[in-house]
């Protein structure tokens, strides 16, 4: 029976370059990616060999079998799919740095898809903040400040602020990351 291992790590969609690096280095060390679920990466023992991993973000694909077939034709092995991310691998030949995107325009198109996804992610946050401000407004105008009400408001503000900071730092850094990727594109 082949040896297996699981690693928990979370990569944001905008960190796809780091994720690719991580998977390649695991393969170099003799661990081949077999599947990925949530934050879990499932590996299987394999020969230590250089391999390239590439991630394509393609969440709206409706004809997956044709899509995967094209990549297979190009020599890419389809490993897994998770939340619109498609993982492909290929043995690395000497001095070749093969990528799934050979031109700037199409790589940019993928970055745009990621930006679009990130903007959609903003929706729940907006809904939460609207609800919080509605509750706040109701408390201010309909009820005079009961001690209990104040506590309620304060806790809501605190919770909202917490979510906002936690979310926005990671969220914003993703945009800067993408901007850097786009600027450094050759």
């Amino acid at each position: 029976m082949t040896e297996k291992k699981t690693i928990r790590r979370s990569f944001y969609i905008s960190d796809f370059e780091e994720e690719q690096e991580f998977l390649s280095s695991q393969h170099n060390a003799g661990w081949r990616l077999t599947d990925t679920r949530g934050k879990k990466y499932l590996f299987e023992k394999c020969d230590k060999e250089a391999a390239i991993y590439q991630i394509d973000f393609n969440p709206k694909e409706q004809r997956k079998s044709e899509y995967v077939q094209l990549f297979t034709d190009f020599g890419w092995e389809f490993v897994a799919e998770k939340d619109g991310r498609f993982y492909f691998s290929k043995p690395a030949l000497q001095c070749s740095e093969e990528k799934i995107f050979s031109d700037r325009e199409t790589k940019l198109a993928m970055c745009r898809k990621i930006i679009k996804r990130k903007l959609v992610q903003l929706i729940p946050l907006t809904v939460i903040s609207v609800i919080i401000s509605c509750v706040l407004a109701l408390n201010m105008f309909l009820y005079s400040f009961f001690p209990l009400g104040i506590i309620f408001i304060v806790s809501l503000i605190w919770l909202g602020g917490l979510i906002l900071t936690l979310y926005s730092t990671k969220y914003l850094s993703g945009f800067f990351k993408l901007k850097k990727i786009i600027e450094n594109m050759d």
Partner: protein, 102 residues
């Protein structure tokens, strides 16, 4: 012609040009890459993601059309609109060549 299409494809990228040029005869993704590689003597090596993204976009924009699907491979061919754009591009590149070599 649609303003948006004009803006995106005139001038067009080398990738789009070669893919559209190859699709003057019916082809699928991998055969396009092979064809372009031979045509350019290995200078242009299209990536899988690049070919797929370009084909999807050109199909959506009506420059090419899906002819058939055989064993999971989609075969495309250039449309009249695609032909029109390709001819304009060829003329532009010829003019560029002529004027710089004169």
């Amino acid at each position: 012609m649609d303003k948006r299409i004009r803006r995106f494809y005139m001038p067009m990228t080398e990738t789009s040009f070669y893919i559209l040029f190859a699709l003057q005869s019916e082809m699928h993704g991998y055969s396009i890459m092979k064809h372009v590689k031979t045509l350019t003597k290995g200078e242009i090596d299209l990536g899988a993601g690049t070919v797929y993204t370009s084909l999807s976009k050109m199909e959506k924009d009506g420059l090419i059309v899906l002819v058939k699907t055989e064993s999971n491979r989609k075969f495309y061919k250039i449309t009249d609109l695609g032909r029109e754009i390709l001819d304009i591009e060829i003329l532009r590149i010829e003019r560029l060549y002529k004027n710089t070599r004169a």
